[in-house]
């Protein structure tokens, strides 16, 4: 894994001063992915499924090849992969199609305060409409999901467990496999938000045995405008579509219509074609490096940075034991939006805010946090720059009276 070579693949890094530590919001894109989009638009940029001419056939083959790549990326089958607009859209599909049609007021939905808004608000809506009860798994003192705490809320009434694979604020990895096993014993299905997991760790849906799992292209070197929903075949089969129209139907009569099988049932209209191809290219890129290597490298950078960060006075770190490349922190007394401007001045990109996860921000009892997240294109030198910028920022804000 040669970081210098990797960096050369990312055109945006031609700006040598740029230190990009906001991968958890969106990753940078390698030229291989950009080239794939260009290839589509320049060589066979036509619609799929609908034509029987050669260019359209090529586009269709490429589109379905991307689906096969996604399937093998997470060890699923072709029919279990639905392309969506993004992880948020995919997670909503589960709630709207499975949730609204299977839950009643006697049921319970387990969620956690670690969830991204996109994995808690859809279930709030299901709860509002069906009357099913939303039950929060109590986090432990570090803010983690533990099996013991999961057991404390899991009951015979539990019908759905919505849980994040990796928290986008705390960087913790949830014990998905154990959660699924226990949930299945109660007959509940498990929806996994893998938006922060897919780019960083190998996912095996057979091993996890989860029922649904979602992620986004743009966080894993792929384009914007595409996400993936994995659903177990037998579940997808019973679920109604939530969008109706072109290409998802079989026969259409004036007052009546029938649907294709999954995944097409859930993909109405012209799909995100270029985006699917780009996601396929991103997966090639990730698999070429190896998810294990990626994870190891991120941890290396994180460990190095965490150690130095801990030594700086007046820095509050909220996830000292993070399992991934995500560090959430604040400079004492300095609002994160003031801090972020300082880092921006050093051309260090980081995020400040509640990271679309207000519940865990409230759990932390802070207004907002800074978040640095590391990925394959970051270097140890960048970690040093970052740490030194943190120190200087603290000194600066002190000096002007914060």
């Amino acid at each position: 894994m040669d970081i210098n070579n990797i960096r050369k693949d990312f055109p945006i890094l031609e700006d040598k001063t740029l230190v990009y530590l906001d991968t958890a919001a969106s990753s940078l894109k390698p030229i291989q992915v950009i080239d794939k989009l260009d290839e589509y638009y320049k060589k066979y940029g036509v619609n799929v499924h609908r034509g029987v001419y050669n260019l359209s056939f090529i586009a269709t083959e490429q589109y379905e090849k991307a689906r096969r790549k996604v399937a093998s990326f997470i060890n699923a089958t072709f029919e279990e992969i639905i392309f969506t607009r993004g992880a948020s859209s995919a997670l909503n599909l589960v709630a709207s199609s499975y949730g609204l049609n299977n839950l009643t007021k006697d049921d319970e939905i387990i969620v956690t305060e670690l969830e991204h808004h996109s994995h808690v608000l859809p279930w709030q809506n299901v709860s509002n409409i069906t009357g099913a009860k939303l039950v929060y798994l109590p986090l432990d003192e570090e803010g983690r999901i533990t099996i013991d705490n999961f057991k404390s809320v899991l009951t015979d009434k539990t019908k759905v467990v919505a849980v994040t694979h990796v928290s986008n604020v705390m960087g913790y990895i949830s014990p998905i496999k154990e959660i699924v096993k226990l949930a299945h014993e109660k007959g509940a299905v498990v929806s996994v938000d893998a938006a922060q997991a897919a780019p960083h760790t190998k996912i095996d849906v057979i091993d996890l045995d989860c029922d649904f799992l979602a992620f986004s292209g743009h966080k894993m070197l792929g384009p914007t405008g595409i996400g993936v929903l994995f659903g177990k075949k037998n579940l997808l089969k019973e679920m109604p579509p939530i969008e109706f129209g072109g290409d998802m139907n079989d026969n259409v009569d004036k007052f009546d219509a029938s649907w294709k099988d999954a995944p097409y049932k859930f993909e109405t209209g012209t799909p995100p074609i270029a985006e699917a191809l780009g996601l396929g290219a991103a997966i090639d890129y990730l698999e070429n490096i190896g998810l294990e290597n990626i994870h190891k490298y991120e941890i290396e950078l994180k460990d190095y940075t965490m150690k130095k960060l801990k030594e700086i006075e007046d820095i509050e770190i909220y996830n000292l034991t993070t399992d991934t490349g995500i560090i959430s922190f604040n400079i004492k007394g300095v609002h994160p939006h003031d801090a972020i401007t300082y880092f921006d001045g050093d051309n260090i990109c980081m995020r400040a805010g509640h990271h679309c996860a207000q519940l865990v921000i409230k759990w932390l009892e802070v207004l907002a946090t800074l978040r640095a997240s590391f990925y394959i294109y970051n270097t140890i030198e960048e970690c040093d720059k970052f740490v030194s910028s943190v120190k200087q920022a603290r000194d600066f804000f002190k000096s002007v009276g914060f």
Binding site: P336, D338, T341, D344, G345, G353, L367, F396
Partner: protein, 143 residues
Amino acid sequence: MNNMEVLYRQVIMDHYKNPRNKGLVQDELYKTIHIKNPTCGDDITVQSKISNGVVEDVRHDGTGCSICCSSASVMSETLLGKSVDDAIKIKDAYINMLTNKEYDEEVELEEAVAYTGVRKFPARIKCASIAWKAFEGTLDESE
């Protein structure tokens, strides 16, 4: 390398640390506007009391970054006692100044002039304008 001093002027820090006219009142004569930027967490409420075409009082409260909170305080001091017409002129000049549009340089921005540095930080312009927008909202309510 980092020219943050341009942004964090003494005036700004002073108002951030010691906000003037802070705290809301329960009074029907006041118009109240609440503006939030859910993404960054800025959350500002502004109240104004207008009578006989004069800004008789301006109050504010909320949470946010130093630029956001201080500018609410600076605004309140700048506009208090002005005629509504002048207040609007000042507000317009200020917003146009921030967004690098043409503005009437004759208009006296008073302490609000400290925010000229914000123009160098486009991502923060919103922080410096949110309280003023809220004030603008209270005038619309008064009409």
